[in-house]
């Protein structure tokens, strides 16, 4: 991996007095030209993007629920990222930084879209939680290796999980994707969505409840319970 600090310093500030290899070049070498610095930055950027490509695309699919839109979102996010490269001070932070940009690009795109009125993001906030899958399936008298809830997890397909996530109302879906898929903290999700942390917390709670509710039919199909949807 290239030394991002050297590349950053070479483009944003002169080297410290006494520092070796001014301008990002090796010791004693002339300072790197603008073209050389750009080429190095591009090389590092390309390598990091290649490394994260499957996750960028997968996350974009979760956000957009559409593969073609996901490709456009990744491209838009990377163009934004390149134009803001000066805000990245440490290459170790690249991953978190690029996923923040991806999510911000999606959210700002949604705000611009006429297809999604703001009200669609704000429905059902105060509705109560539903009973969790664990509470519905757990049978404390069974042995640990025969828990129905563990068997459900063993047999759930990825497409079951994706369908349950994609079916959530947007307000809840975005909170769940940002925190559970992208690993954002509540504060980071709040900043991205421009809502208070408490609202992130309540949307997450409701979103996770609805997500588990949506998996209930799979539990029934798998014969893990004889209880109905409502109880």
């Amino acid at each position: 991996m290239e030394d991002w600090g050297v590349i950053s310093r070479s483009r944003s500030s002169p080297p410290r007095e006494g520092a070796r290899g001014g301008g990002g070049g090796p010791a004693g070498a002339p300072p790197a030209t603008g073209e050389e610095v750009t080429a190095r930055r591009r090389r590092v950027f390309q390598a990091e993007v290649e490394r994260l490509m499957d996750r960028l695309y997968g996350t974009a699919v979760r956000l957009t629920r559409n593969r073609a839109d996901a490709e456009d979102l990744v491209a838009e996010a990377l163009a934004r990222a390149w134009s803001r490269l000066d805000t990245l001070e440490d290459l170790q932070a690249f991953e978190k930084w690029i996923f923040r940009i991806l999510s911000n690009a999606f959210v700002s795109g949604r705000r611009r879209s006429r297809e999604t009125p703001a009200s669609a993001l704000l429905t059902g906030e105060d509705e109560g939680d539903t009973e969790s899958l664990f509470d519905r399936l757990h049978q404390p008298f069974l042995l640990w290796w025969d828990n129905p809830e563990q068997r459900l997890l063993d047999r759930l397909l990825r497409e079951d999980v994706e369908r349950a996530l994609d079916g959530l109302p947007d307000a809840y879906r975005l909170a769940v994707v940002l925190v559970d898929v992208e690993g954002f903290t509540y504060a980071e999700a709040a900043e991205t969505l421009s809502i208070p942390v408490g609202t992130v917390r309540s949307r997450l709670s409701r979103g996770r409840s609805l997500f588990q509710e949506a998996l209930w039919p799979q539990a029934r199909e798998l014969g893990l319970t004889t209880r109905g949807v409502g109880g």
Binding site: R42, F45, Q46, V49, E50, M53, D54, R55, L56, Y57, G58, T59, V61, R62, R67, E71, V74, A75, L78, A79, W82, L133, F134, H138, P140, W144, N147, E149, Q150, L153, L156, R158, V161, E162, L165, V176, V177, V179, D180, V181, E182, G183, T185, Y186, R201, L204, S205, R208, F211, Q212
Partner: protein
């Protein structure tokens, strides 16, 4: 020394515990409860594993068309 908590409080704080959003003292209290309560530990494991399944959906093989598009884009930067 953190005080003991009951199941009700442990369950109420479980999701924030798994999210890493609790302060150290609260995190320790939940952890100690999970070490001694089988039911809450089972619940915690269920939620943790379900969370892993959700996180896994955030990665999917990028189509070659996208890879080519991005390479072209970066070359033009």
């Amino acid at each position: 020394m953190p005080s003991q908590i009951e199941c009700e409080e442990a369950v109420a704080r479980l999701l924030e515990y798994l999210d890493g959003e609790l302060e150290e003292a609260d995190r320790s209290r939940v952890e100690r409860h999970l070490e001694t309560c089988r039911g809450c530990f089972d619940r915690s494991e269920f939620e943790r594993r379900l969370r892993e399944l959700v996180a896994e959906t955030g990665s999917a093989p990028a189509p070659e068309s996208l890879r080519l598009r991005i390479r072209g884009l970066i070359e033009r930067f």
